[in-house]
């Protein structure tokens, strides 16, 4: 048979005999999601998230051979709905968190468990990078944040939450003590410029993100010192030198700070609009008088902005923080600044203006005592370390030992998980079919393999791989129907079933069911 052509969503693609629809789609860059697909295993057709529509019927693209003239529908609402449903059905039986509660609760999405593991292992440079890539002004947040992360920490169910904020401060202070503190990588210069009015938390946070995106950022403030409301914090809580050091960090990133500039006197909104590609108003609530003089529409609370685009009534002019509506918490103000910065960035890049949603995470909810106990197996049993007033935070040893209290309740595959990835892409609702949750289970194997059966989606890749590798015991499906599970035969452990190819099975597991310690 000769090469032939089919179309996917109207796009023609030339194929060789024997190729599947999935092959065809990949050939022209259409990303059909798959979980159970691994070339060497052949089509397993278990997950069915790779559905496409042919001749009015939904079929798994991984197992459907292309035939000349086939007309395939892939990126339509109906097909997406079916794929989303498959993902949502799988999530209804998925026991485990992708992201730990602390990370989910952090408005700035700091990967807290990663930071803690880096501190525990003494990988200070990595910990600094983790922190600085997520947080603007971490030394400030490490002192003043109201730490919603700690309220969510699962360790709290056993004794006390980990001292996340204290460890964040420890890392930030450590960084600032270096001669050249860590500078987050910036993208190549875009040639676009942004004027930010106000150097409070929202303005500084926005400046940090926009600078890293490669834009040229100038911040104006009518005061003689940068920091806005942070300047009102008592010296004992936030020493001025710490704030200064963090502001210096921003300047090192290329942010220009122009002080003693009041909007309406030396410069006007109109001049900013004409001199810069975009303007962000982050004047805080002290700047009310200032805003009233501007031509932007106001509400009772402050500057009127669009809930999705953060844009004011003037095109290209954005607003954030307490200038829009009162913000009580520092971390929230920064989050607002970050959100507006994202909108500004998209505006500058001519992309649809919106802020991105939260990262996807499966959510386990409350753990029972036995489940907490399971997690405690892998963490330090020491009580929470409280640094003395005089010692100004942790020393290295204390930090490492406090970080070791983390339960590692985040998934080892988070960020590297096809299931999580496609759930995000397809905007799957993991709670759509929520019902009583099965208990969380974690089998720690002496050789380092970790099996978490609740995360297994029964894709069958490991079963097939063990069969092909001639594992002496291997893994198999046990039972039938909804209760099917994966196990080694005759009550052997998972690791006994994986004597030859454990690493390969861990690598190809599409979720976090199989992982390495």
């Amino acid at each position: 048979m000769n090469n032939f052509e089919i179309t996917i969503d109207g796009q023609p693609v030339t194929l060789q005999p024997g190729q599947t629809i999935l092959d065809a789609a990949r050939q022209i860059g259409i990303d059909i999601p798959t979980l159970c697909h691994l070339k060497e295993c052949g089509p397993l057709t278990t997950c069915l998230v790779c559905l496409v529509k042919i001749n009015g019927k939904l079929v798994p693209s991984c197992a459907t051979q292309a035939a000349p003239g086939m007309v395939v529908e892939s990126e339509s609402e109906e097909v997406h709905e079916a794929r989303r449903t498959a993902l949502e059905l799988l999530f209804s039986d998925h026991v485990g968190d992708c992201l730990s509660p602390c990370q989910r609760l952090c408005p700035l999405q700091l990967n807290i468990p990663a930071m803690l593991r880096q501190i525990e292992s003494g990988a200070m440079a990595e910990a600094v990078a983790t922190v600085r890539q997520a947080l603007p002004l971490p030394a400030v947040l490490g002192r003043l944040c109201n730490h919603p992360c700690e309220q969510g920490c699962r360790r709290g169910a056993a004794d006390d939450s980990a001292d996340i904020r204290g460890l964040e401060r420890f890392i930030a202070d450590h960084d600032l003590r270096l001669t050249a503190p860590y500078l987050a990588p910036c993208r190549a210069a875009t040639g676009k410029s942004v004027a930010i009015v106000g150097t409070g938390p929202a303005g500084l946070a926005a400046a940090y993100d926009l600078a890293r995106q490669g834009h040229s950022v100038t911040i104006f403030d009518r005061h003689d010192r940068a920091g806005g409301s942070l300047r009102a914090v008592a010296e004992s809580e936030l020493p001025g030198e710490v704030l200064e050091a963090e502001i210096t960090q921003l300047q090192r990133l290329g942010v220009e700070i122009l002080l003693n500039v009041e909007l309406g006197t030396r410069i006007t909104l109109d001049t900013l609009k004409s001199d810069y590609d975009s303007v962000l108003l982050a004047v805080g609530d002290n700047g009310k008088a200032e805003t009233e003089k501007l031509a932007v529409t106001l509400t009772v609370a402050g500057i009127k902005t669009d809930a999705i685009t953060a844009q004011t009534s003037l095109p290209g002019v954005f607003a954030a923080g307490a200038a829009v509506k009162p913000v009580k918490q520092l971390v929230r103000a920064m989050t607002e600044g970050r959100g507006a910065a994202e909108c500004v960035h998209r505006f500058l890049m001519s992309e649809p203006v919106r802020r991105s949603g939260k990262p996807f995470s499966s959510v386990m909810g409350k753990l029972d005592a036995a489940e907490v106990q399971l997690f405690l197996q892998t963490s330090s049993d020491k009580p929470r370390h409280v640094p003395c007033d005089a010692c100004a935070g942790f020393n290295n040893g204390e930090a490492s030992s406090e970080a070791a209290r983390c339960l590692h309740c985040d998934c080892r595959s988070a960020g590297n998980c096809a299931f999580q990835h496609y759930a995000q892409v397809y905007d799957a609702d993991p709670t759509r079919f929520r019902s009583a949750r099965a208990p969380f289970e974690q089998q720690l194997q002496p050789g380092g393999v970790i099996f978490e059966p609740g995360k297994c989606i029964l894709c069958g890749i490991c079963v097939k791989l063990t069969e092909m590798a001639g594992e002496p015991l291997g893994l198999t499906f046990i039972g039938r129907g909804f209760d099917v599970r994966i196990a080694a035969p005759f009550d052997h452990t998972i690791e006994e079933g994986l004597q030859k190819i454990a690493a390969q099975c861990v690598k190809h597991c599409p979720t976090g069911a199989l992982s390495m310690k």
């Binding site: 939904l58 798994p60 449903t85 039986d93 909804f482």
Partner: protein
């Protein structure tokens, strides 16, 4: 364990390849009662079977147990007919009576194991319980103690009972005969005992009467049933006969073998019986074929797959030949080209009787056109639909006919190997097919020379191990190959790449049973029966809330109403005909108002049901349609192979919502989600099981949405969902205390001569009180 030698012998006997796995496990289980791990490890050591394959397979099929069983195993049928007739209550009552602890299936003393079984295929006797090898029909929650007692009695007395599977005693002469139906259902009602007593009576009387085992008579609701056939005279049927009545019957019809011969002895016996006991009257059991009931039942029927029903001995090869048996195959071998045979099948319009109605000739032709001569014909006897027993009956009653149909299919497609796949829940069907094959083999008619002619055709039997999904072609193939019965995406179709990757023709039992008739009588004659697109006849198992349940064969195009009201005599007195469940878990509920729907593939599809394999369960107004949908989802959920997401998780989530509804805990949004999900499970599932699993939900939503909505408000209109109903004693109570005595959970305090009260906190809604109350003083609210 001491006797692992058994394993070694078994492996030697059965084989050591991967395909030997299921037969080996069946042998191990038969031997040890369960699958001891030590034995399984030994199997792996002695064969090519890997531990992973063994564990996967042994946990996939229902029949395999990994824990020891009690001395007796009580299997409670969960088929549709049994479900609507109260099987869940029987199961509860059995567990209580036999002291089975919660979460276990065997009592502490290991006397009894109670386990559910998907369907025993004795639907007209619903609810059915099988204790070891004995099937008991018409079980009810309150007769459980008697049932266990009577079983133990049977067991004590049965040790000496001879086997029913005797050779024919026909000597070829025309003489009066007594036909005794000996299908599984009949046996369950005691016809085997009747058969032996009759034979004994005839022998003792030394009269020239043949007592003949025949297959299913079809009139299952009146079994045990016999037909007395005297040459030149109209036959007489006797229904509901007991063994005790049999000798009197013999005497009535055949008073004396000869006036002089042995007269004295006979007279003495007659005198004896007059003196000893009053002659039981058998008159009340008699019915003539012109009897309106029999006539109504049989009148509309056309017997093709069940030709000669109730008159032929299933294992009498001579009789089969005398009635034209194997003449079709002989013609196919001697006179017709394979293409001509396939053309004939095409002209007849025959479509698959397994459910989907795929044109049989198309399948045959594809297999025929495949190159190579390693091809297979598989008879799909994995009749898994709860509420269906047509295939069992055909296999039990007409084994030679199915074999002939298969042989014709093999010759037409160029296959040289035929495999019967029969579910293990049908032991008699397996036994009869095996015996029929043995008779043919003894004659040299199968194997090297089919019918003694130049065609090689081997036959074998594979027993299923209890998995509904194995009725699906690709799962069935996986099962024959010794794997978990998990379906594969089609194409490739089995007709191109099936068993061991070779072209494989898979036809249902009934389809194959129709083939010899078509060849013998001509395609035109078959095509003349039925509708434009659905030709010939269809066999149905008519059961549920119906007066005359049984096995029927009707021309396509007969209406549901004709089946239910004319053949079946309608629903029981005082009830209202509500719906017909047709097509089992893949089918739907057709409401009574659409009862004029014609039975053909297209019309049934049009009302949301399917023809299915032939289960036809009639439902009256005591049936809750939400419960019905829940029942079927429970079934498909348990039977899902667990492979694809939509079926494995989707059916579970649908069941969650249905359980919520039945518990009165659902909201409107759940109902919307149920419908949305049902459509998606149907569209997204990999195989037919998942694709059709939502049908019972979708049809009930279509026709009975009001009942769903009532459940949203905590009301079950049929008074069936136990969480939504209450039992109350009315003013008619006479204080007789029967309910209090029979209540299995002591929820009714004993208050003689005073009105009783039910403690609703203790009450399990088992319905016993209502059933036993002589004053009808229990009401359901």
């Amino acid at each position: 364990m001491s006797d692992l030698a058994f394993i070694d012998e078994t492996v030697t006997r059965i084989g050591s390849g991967p395909e030997a796995l299921i037969p080996i496990l069946q042998a191990v289980q038969d031997h040890y009662g369960y699958l001891p791990q030590e034995a399984l490890r030994r199997v792996c050591e002695q064969t090519e079977i890997t531990p992973a394959a063994l564990e996967g397979v042994s946990t996939f099929y229902d029949m395999f147990r990994h824990k020891p069983v009690g001395e007796s195993v009580v299997r409670v049928c969960r088929g549709t007919a049994c479900h609507v007739s109260g099987a869940p209550r029987v199961e509860d009552a059995l567990r209580r009576h036999l002291h089975i602890p919660e979460g276990d299936d065997t009592d502490r003393e290991r006397k009894f194991t109670v386990e559910p079984v998907a369907c025993l295929g004795c639907c007209t006797l619903a609810p059915v319980v099988k204790i070891n090898e004995t099937t008991l029909g018409h079980a009810s929650a309150e007769n459980v103690p008697e049932m266990i007692e009577s079983y133990q009695e049977i067991r004590r007395s049965a040790s000496a009972a001879p086997s029913t599977e005797l050779a024919s005693d026909d000597d070829g002469q025309e003489k009066p005969t007594i036909h005794v139906g000996l299908g599984s259902c009949c046996i369950a009602k005691g016809s085997d005992q009747l058969f032996h007593v009759l034979r004994e009576a005839v022998q003792k009387a030394s009269i020239a009467v043949e007592v003949k085992r025949v297959g299913c008579v079809g009139i299952c609701h009146r079994t045990p049933m016999i037909e007395v056939v005297i040459p030149g005279k109209a036959s007489t049927y006797y229904a509901d006969l007991s063994a005790a009545e049999a000798p009197a019957l013999v005497r009535r019809h055949f008073p004396a073998p000869g006036i002089f011969h042995r007269a004295s002895r006979l007279w003495t016996r007659a005198l004896d019986s007059l003196l000893m006991e009053p002659e039981p009257s058998v008159e009340r059991n008699a019915m003539s074929p012109r009897d309106t009931e029999v006539h109504a039942f049989l009148g509309r029927q056309v017997h093709i797959a069940t030709e000669h029903f109730g008159t032929v001995d299933p294992l009498d090869l001579e009789e089969y030949l005398a009635r034209g048996g194997f003449s079709a195959l002989r013609r196919v071998l001697n006179e017709l080209q394979p293409e001509q045979v396939i053309d004939s099948i095409e002209k007849s319009g025959l479509r698959g009787r397994g459910g989907a109605g795929f044109p049989s000739a198309t399948k045959w032709r594809i297999v025929h056109q495949q190159p190579g001569d390693e091809k297979f014909v598989v008879c799909n006897g994995d009749e898994g639909d709860p509420g269906a027993f047509m295939d069992r009956m055909i296999l039990e009653s007409f084994p030679f006919r199915v074999i002939e149909g298969m042989a014709i299919a093999a010759v037409a497609t160029g296959a040289h190997e035929c495999i019967f796949y029969i579910r293990h829940e049908y032991p008699l069907a397996v036994k009869r097919i095996r015996a029929a094959l043995a008779l043919l083999e003894a004659r040299g008619w199968i194997g090297e020379k089919l019918l003694g002619l130049d065609y090689k055709l081997a036959f074998s039997i594979m027993e299923g191990a209890g998995a509904f999904v194995c009725g699906e072609e690709t799962a069935l193939i996986a099962s024959i190959e010794g794997r978990r019965g998990m379906p594969k995406l089609r194409p490739p179709f089995p007709a191109v790449a099936g068993l061991w990757g070779r072209p494989t023709l898979i036809n249902n039992v009934e389809t194959l049973a129709l083939v010899p008739w078509i060849i013998r009588n001509g395609a035109e004659k078959f095509a003349a029966i039925g509708t434009a697109k659905s030709k010939g006849t269809k066999v149905f198992a008519l059961a549920g809330h119906i007066r005359r349940g049984g096995l029927i064969e009707v021309p396509m195009g007969t209406t549901l109403r004709e089946i239910v009201e004319e053949i079946g005599g309608g629903v029981p007195e005082g009830r209202k005909f509500k719906a017909v469940q047709i097509g089992g878990p893949s089918g739907g509920c057709v409401p009574a108002r659409l009862a004029d729907t014609s039975v053909d593939y297209e019309s049934l599809g049009g009302v949301g049901a399917i023809m299915g394999s032939g289960g036809l369960v009639v439902l009256d107004n005591s049936t809750c349609m939400v419960d019905m949908a829940r029942y079927f989802l429970q079934f498909t959920q348990e039977q899902s192979c667990g492979k694809c997401t939509f079926c494995r998780v989707g059916t579970r989530r649908m069941l969650d919502i249905l359980e919520r509804l039945c518990a009165g805990k659902a909201e409107k949004k759940h109902l919307d989600e149920l419908e949305r999900l049902a459509i998606q499970v149907g569209a997204g599932s990999l195989c037919g099981l998942g694709k059709t699993a939502p049908n019972p939900v979708l049809t009930t939503l279509r026709y009975y949405r009001d009942e769903y909505e009532a459940h949203l408000h905590g009301h079950c209109p049929a008074g069936k969902c136990s969480a939504l109903i209450e039992y109350r004693v009315t003013a008619d109570c006479t204080g007789c205390t029967i309910c209090a005595q029979r209540c299995p959970v002591d929820a009714i305090p004993l208050t003689p001569y005073r009105k009783h009260h039910i403690n609703l906190d203790l009450c399990t809604r088992c319905d016993t009180c209502r059933q036993v109350c002589p004053a009808n003083a229990i009401e359901v609210l």
